[in-house]
């Protein structure tokens, strides 16, 4: 039996009368690429923030890497990586300084940081930019760097919140190569996106509409179930029923 790294039972997050996340349940298995699809405002980011220990759920249960989201957030944080929607490396620090800081934040030794950051810079082809300020890099490189920093401490799971927003198609392709590589190395990938072609790259896909999970299966099975040619068609069939304003 495959190992569950995330379990989620009836998870709900309520802001006043508004259910941002409404009673969702699912499991994520080790090493899989788990896609979280939904329109803007469907509740993807809120659900992800709860699983990352950034936000308290209102009710329901969830555990990440074996730790409880109510009481053991700091333990969860040691075992996950996170890349937020908004670019959040320090723009006024260099590539190497950013890597060093976040490596240190996860308690990696200085020696190990030096070794791994050298490898990383070489792998990303950023040797010449290593001592440049991150703010001066083009967006595509920033995103690749942010992803590399998020998995620098070799977490069990990495959460990616719309990691390829605003990135050109070539870079997006390269980005997904990096995701595959990380998954092959045993890191579970939890990724939100609203690019439907990216959904096809995932092992399993969840489609959220108005805070609820409307579908959860592999892309192939979803297409079969909804008699659609692409995941995009599946999404349209489900999203058409959305009541929330599709904006923001």
């Amino acid at each position: 039996m495959e190992e569950k790294v995330i379990t989620c039972r009836n998870l709900t997050k309520q802001f006043g009368n508004f259910y941002a996340v409404n009673n969702i349940s699912f499991d994520v298995y080790r090493g899989e690429i788990f896609g979280f699809l939904g329109a803007n405002g469907a509740g993807k980011t809120t659900a992800m923030r709860i699983l990352c220990g950034l936000s308290f759920p209102s009710s329901g249960e969830a555990s990440v890497a074996g730790f409880d989201v109510y009481r053991q957030q700091e333990l969860i944080k040691q075992h996950i990586g996170y890349m937020s929607q908004k670019f959040s490396l320090y723009e006024n620090l260099t590539v190497l300084e950013n890597i060093e800081f976040f490596g240190g934040a996860y308690g990696i030794s200085r020696k190990e940081i030096n070794k791994r950051s050298e490898e990383l810079v070489r792998k990303l082809g950023l040797q010449r930019e290593a001592k440049k300020l991150v703010g001066e890099l083009p967006l595509g490189w920033k995103q690749k760097l942010a992803f590399s920093v998020a998995i620098f401490h070799q977490p069990k799971i990495v959460f990616l919140d719309e990691p390829t927003g605003g990135v050109d198609p070539v870079t997006r392709r390269q980005f997904w190569d990096m995701i595959y590589e990380a998954a092959a190395a045993g890191i579970t990938i939890f990724v939100t996106t609203h690019y439907m072609d990216e959904a096809e790259y995932c092992n399993r896909v969840t489609i959220m509409v108005d805070g609820k999970i409307e579908a959860l299966d592999s892309p192939a099975n979803l297409k079969k179930q909804f008699a659609a040619n692409t995941v995009e068609d599946v999404f349209y069939k489900l999203a058409r029923g959305a009541k929330r304003e599709n904006s923001g």
């Binding site: 950034l54 959040s88 006024n92």
Partner: protein, 372 residues
């Protein structure tokens, strides 16, 4: 502990990368400490005075010469009539008018008494009041001189007059700079420390980097300490710089123990930075933090006893003043620098400041939420 060193490295790198902030941090206290006390000098010198002399006698000339040579007045006019002199006041050219009536000398000699008129432009109340006082003092002394002359001619003993003399302790010449310079130093330290720390965490909120911090296992106290320590070190450097300016420019050297002064500065800075960080944890944008910090800074400045003695405030204002950390620090700095007070004298203030440091920082750590 290791995580803290990574945090500190990062903070220092960011501080030193911003050249303008660094320059401001050190230029501001140096330049302002040189300029501000000059502007805050409450000693009134060169009061503009117009004289209307209707008597043109020896005595009136003597009185005018005495006033002119006192050093406090600038004679700006000698008018023939009071009305002419009044136009000077209207135009703001003179602060005081001294009117010597006709028959001044005659009445003094014959009757031993004579009234003279002083009119003051009270728009600048301080200058008018203090100038008027000076003038009274000079005239009184002129009067006393007359008295000796007159009584010398009489057989009766001179009337016993209670003459009060006083000495100024700890600031013998009652020079304003000794009072104001240490206060300005404290004020500058407060502004620099308060604003920089108030803006810091909120900047990470604005750029979104705080989210990346919140998702790491960095502990809350480590994060706050990582913010506090670099500013604390910068603050101590600023304080040292300020003391050097006091010494070199104003010739003020602390009468009391310098280590005691530093102990206070160290704890005061922790309290103040905690306050800044607290504002930072409550604000969502740098504008909010700036306004909030400014709101409190104004209160701090005006309630602290920097400009006016706390003792003369009404009771409610005094209780607010006591809740302001800077009040205690200004008091202590003046005590140590001017009076040479020792540890036991400043102990109550020390307890106050330690209390502030614990409460403000504890509050900041408590209010900083990694999970919301």
């Amino acid at each position: 502990m290791n995580r803290l060193t990574f945090l500190l490295r990062k903070e220092f790198r960011q501080i030193f990368r911003d050249k303008i902030i660094i320059i401001m941090m050190f230029a501001m206290p140096t330049v302002q400490l040189i300029i501000l006390p000059l502007a805050m000098d409450f000693d009134v010198k060169s009061v503009n005075l117009s004289v209307v002399d209707h008597d043109h006698s020896t005595y009136s000339q003597q009185l005018i010469t005495k006033i002119a040579s006192s050093g406090y007045f600038k004679m700006v006019g000698a008018e023939a009539s009071y009305r002419d002199a009044l136009t000077y006041i209207e135009k703001g050219k003179t602060d005081l008018i001294l009117e010597i009536p006709a028959g001044f000398e005659r009445n003094l000699v014959r009757e031993g008494a004579q009234k003279i008129g002083i009119s003051a432009d009270a728009i600048n109340g301080t200058k008018a009041a203090i100038g008027g006082n000076y003038l009274n003092t000079v005239i009184a002394s002129f009067n006393a001189g007359l008295g000796i002359n007159v009584t010398a001619n009489l057989t009766s003993p001179p009337a016993s007059i209670i003459d009060i003399t006083w000495s100024n302790w700890f600031n013998p010449l009652a020079e304003y700079k000794y009072y104001v310079v240490p206060g300005v130093l404290v004020l500058l330290l407060t502004m620099i420390g308060g604003f920089l720390s108030a803006l810091n965490i909120v900047k990470e909120k604005e750029t979104g980097t705080i989210e990346q911090i919140n998702v790491t296992p960095i502990k809350k106290w480590q994060f706050i300490a990582g913010k506090l320590i670099p500013f604390w070190i910068m603050g101590m450097i600023v304080f040292t710089l300020g003391l050097l300016v006091c010494r070199i420019v104003y010739g003020i050297t602390p009468e009391g123990s310098i280590p005691l002064l530093y102990l206070f500065a160290a704890i005061y800075l922790i309290a103040l930075l905690g306050f800044g960080l607290l504002i930072s944890t409550y604000s969502n944008s740098q504008i909010q933090a700036m306004f909030t910090a400014f709101f409190f800074m104004m209160i701090f400045m005006l309630m602290s006893g920097l400009f006016t003695p706390v003792e003369s405030m009404p009771l409610w204002a005094r209780s607010i003043a006591n809740l302001v950390p800077i009040t205690h620090f200004i008091k202590v700095v003046r005590m140590i620098v001017l009076k040479g007070s020792g540890f036991s004298d400043v102990q109550p203030e020390l307890l106050y400041i330690i209390g502030f440091a614990i409460i403000l920082n504890g509050w900041a750590i408590w209010n900083y939420r990694k999970t919301s």
